[in-house]
Symmetry: D2
Subunit: 342 residues, 4 copies
């Protein structure tokens, strides 16, 4: 950390800052510029915010130098992590495609979708049972009934399953029925929930909050890992910007940035990010070309009847075509696409 | 709602859209431009998203015309709502000041702060017992112990109290000890929690999410009110933008906008928005001049020792000075500042 | 356009709005909802803003339905435009790579760079002679001397050239020496300059402003085309968001969106968007996979000695490697990469 | 500046960085943490970007510590600057109100507006003669004819005048007819134009770009002042964010931030920022309460007939009412409002 002192800081003020830093175990380096004193302080980055330095007389600003996360950092572990769920490995050589409907709506809808996405080559089935909806008047999910249908679909097709949880109760239910626990964008900083999934030991798919920096996203992952659960998959799903031609702005640069700063696998959700089915395929191809370890894609047997996110859901035919394209792009960047052996 | 058809939409496609709208009870108006057909549809705004119109062949886009919220809208209730908590009224002629430390840290800290802010004229005491923190390594709050201290401080000083809850468990605890339940920015779209505080019947202070539009904020309030709880106080606390000279960008225009579109009272939190103590006073004065019904201000007996948000906390002396300034600004816009009778 | 009337609008107010619309040649459709009147108005979108409807008593809001641009729209011209410059076609089957240093710094630097990028397969040489710099103390470009060096490099290597202009004077100079005129992000809404390049007849590379919506970007292109110059190449180069791990946020979704709404070719500049050389290659590959018609890439013979944008410049070796990767990705999406015949 | 080295940086790499810094006159401080070396470097902040340090092997990142501007900084000049134009002082005890129409449309319109705003107490008349418009089909201004009308209005009413220039030609014309030269938001980084107004010696009203950080805004002012022209007035006019209930988001915190970091006066334009006439008065009052030195307000004799920005223009009656309110708010913060002696 660097403490920048005011031009007018007097020796007594400088002394107080120095004492406070030393009291907390920081090693001090005084750097005198032409007009100004700057104090380099070596110590535990994680306690900076509790030192109250910004409020001390004579202090102009604090500039942190080190990253605030540790366990998830690439520096703490040089090789990339691979998250294994049953026979599926996320973060290895193969690109993994997760597909299925936004919400589980009925037995027929989910089983049909599961068979369709499996046939096209998806490795993991998605489906929401607890739906956070902007409007209190919109469909909110089938809850436990939806989870049971996911388990049934998994048993029939052999697909690994993932579903979103929104609180302690839904987490406990989901742990009984599905393989991967998803934390949605709106809950990325629901820290109690992060700790709970950390303690659960289940693999976690952690979506980036729609106004979260990459650093905050990695700090959220740090919450999970700090509870002993290293099976975290990061998922970029668009950030909020001024542009309104798309639902959110898919930040594909976040893929190489996050993979550079962390050892965790990173996947991309082009469906929620763009909100338009015509944009899903080009952004899915781009994500693979940018180095994503997987994709999360909404597919619905009949998108125009979907209770949720119909406008961005692919038909099964669209999805089959996309899978063929993805194999070509993956091959172009030296990877394969994981496919179920039928 | 207006359905904009493609230039190339054929009669059969137009017919399908028309049938689907009529099937859901919409009244249809065909508007033929020079090149293009536009369909005006009168009906229930709240079911638009479940019609799947965007995915129908021949449809270019859907333009909603009406607002998606109803109960919280100014149109549903012309006069401004006043939320009454004990003898304090929020949303009436008087500006209400809520003050206190970011986190309850100890009995001495909280009682000292309570006495200081009461003396300076605050009507409500704030203090966090459950702290959502970006870092898993930071202080996370005293939990129930903190709530008990708030109750004790209230009993001694007569101040109404407010504290943040973060899930079902903390809500149940907080309901036993404090007067107003705060939903923080990170939980603005935690819809289960919104329903729970709606059912609790307790007055709710609802912070705007840091990337929430004003419309989404009002939709979050609609969740609470739709459960029968009309005592909702909106709180603007800054939005996330590219500017990094301040922690967030305080969107003061949101005060007249929200008060124009809704009958609910609106207060402002300049402490979290700016993140710098030197900016708190000017932004607090500006909020009152813009028409805010109240303020939420962090005050700590010893900011440099604060475990949380020290850099933006006012000293008791700063706060006294600010209260004097606020009375002058409130008077200039035809209002008073609520003060406790000692 | 749709005019939404207030709940309380009276017949006289409605009548005034109707008269004003009819006076300007709009055809009127009255749509009565349960509580509210909405007026659909068919007419010239381009004069809406001069009608003053928003200020008329009884009017709540105006909702435009049609796009404000016309000449650049996909609807006005179904097939994609191909911009031809000498023997290079931008917007056809082949992906075009533009490469070279941020700034022309010296004869040796530019000629070396030109030979290197030509050898690796670039079709067009870039180099800045007029540099808009955030700081008045930074290098501002070689001006006409730089343009002469571009012309010399073109003559030697056969490469087409592009350079940025910043005002009338630099435009007039550039027209004498280079093949394509670039309008930088900061000048995207410098409307006099847009008209001037429109009248110049020279091919124009139009960068998106860093806070411009896609609609505003297309309106800027409309300025150029409305002067009779149809040779416009759109260039996405990142938008400003809250994320600061990258210089800007590359909005790759803008590629399929702009190509859907307009017939103009769209290229991508991953160098300026990301600001980090390690991110250039993954984002360049992603751009091609998303359907971009070309790339604009900074390459410098010795990046650590660059007077401008060194941190994002590729070395010639990096660039050669990238070109090889791009050919594979282009092939995967059914395209080639244009290469000079040596 | 602080140079953060990679964990794996070797002695040779460290040595190269050290040599390069010393070669450019920087004084070096080696700070060894537990795992990592950090190099503190004291020297000229303005040449950092030309050192190419980010591209050197072993370097992880560069963290600048000092501000990049100098002449406009509060540190270079402790007391606040007062810009004097004829008998009007901007930046002193009195709040200055600039008012008038968005565009000069006709002799009658401008003279009527000038008399009306003078009567209500405005000190400076605004009116656009060169209008940068998003659409090529919108009214673009009366150009020199408009400037002559401003001069005539000034002669009749005694009001100081301000108008926007957009390039060299309009600047030269404006210098003959008006008192203050405005640089619009879209030209805030038109660096040649900034230099030209700097050399002109005329007082400059510099609007903040809609996606400019406060630091970039001050750098733009530095361009003007570095040419010897210290008469710069900063004007906050809203930044672009995701919120679309207002045209832009008025960043009132920028007032105390800019006044803290710079000695230049700061005014606020609530008309362009909000885009809605109902929001102009509350935001104008808030700006004064936040410490703004003045306001820029659009007033039109007949807003519904305005050729430009009618929806945000106040009527003369609205403006008179606002002036009365502003006097009360200014008094509450210990200031007056400058008024013309009739």
């Amino acid at each position: 950390m660097v403490v920048v002192m005011n031009l007018s800081a007097d020796p007594e003020q400088i002394n107080s800052v120095q004492q406070r830093l030393e009291q907390f175990g920081f090693e001090i380096h005084m750097i005198r510029g032409v007009n100004r004193l700057v104090i380099g302080a070596v110590g535990d980055r994680r306690i900076i915010s509790s030192l109250g330095l910004e409020t001390m007389p004579g202090v102009e600003s604090i500039v942190p130098i080190m990253k605030p996360y540790k366990l998830v950092s690439r520096e703490s572990k040089g090789e990339s992590s691979v998250v294994k769920v049953k026979d599926v490995s996320i973060g290895g050589d193969e690109v993994i495609v997760i597909a299925g409907p936004c919400a589980v709506e009925s037995r027929e809808q989910l089983l049909t979708a599961a068979r369709q996405v499996r046939r096209a080559g998806a490795a993991i089935l998605r489906g929401g049972a607890f739906k956070p909806r902007t409007s209190p008047y919109a469909f909110q999910g089938l809850e436990e009934e939806g989870l049971k249908l996911l388990a049934e679909a998994s048993e029939e097709t052999g697909l690994v399953t993932v579903t979103e949880v929104i609180d302690q109760m839904s987490l406990e239910l989901a742990m009984k029925y599905v393989d991967i626990i998803q934390i949605g964008a709106r809950n990325m900083q629901n820290f109690h929930l992060l700790r709970s999934v950390g303690r659960s030991g289940k693999p976690v798919l952690l979506k980036r909050g729609l106004s979260a920096t990459i650093e905050e996203w990695l700090m959220a992952a740090e919450y999970v890992v700090s509870e002993g659960n290293e099976s975290v998959i990061l998922c970029e799903r668009g950030i909020r910007t001024f542009e309104n031609a798309t639902r959110n702005t898919l930040d594909l640069s976040a893929v190489p940035v996050a993979k550079g700063q962390s050892h965790l696998p990173v996947i991309v959700d082009p469906s929620h990010a763009t909100g338009h089915l015509r944009l899903v395929a080009p952004m899915a191809r781009a994500a693979v070309a940018a180095g994503a370890d997987g994709l999360l894609i909404e597919v619905h047997p009949e998108p125009h009847k979907a209770l949720c996110d119909g406008p961005q859901s692919l038909t099964p035919e669209d999805f089959e075509r996309l899978m063929a394209e993805l194999k070509l792009v993956a091959a172009a960047v030296g990877r394969g696409v994981r496919e179920m052996v039928m």
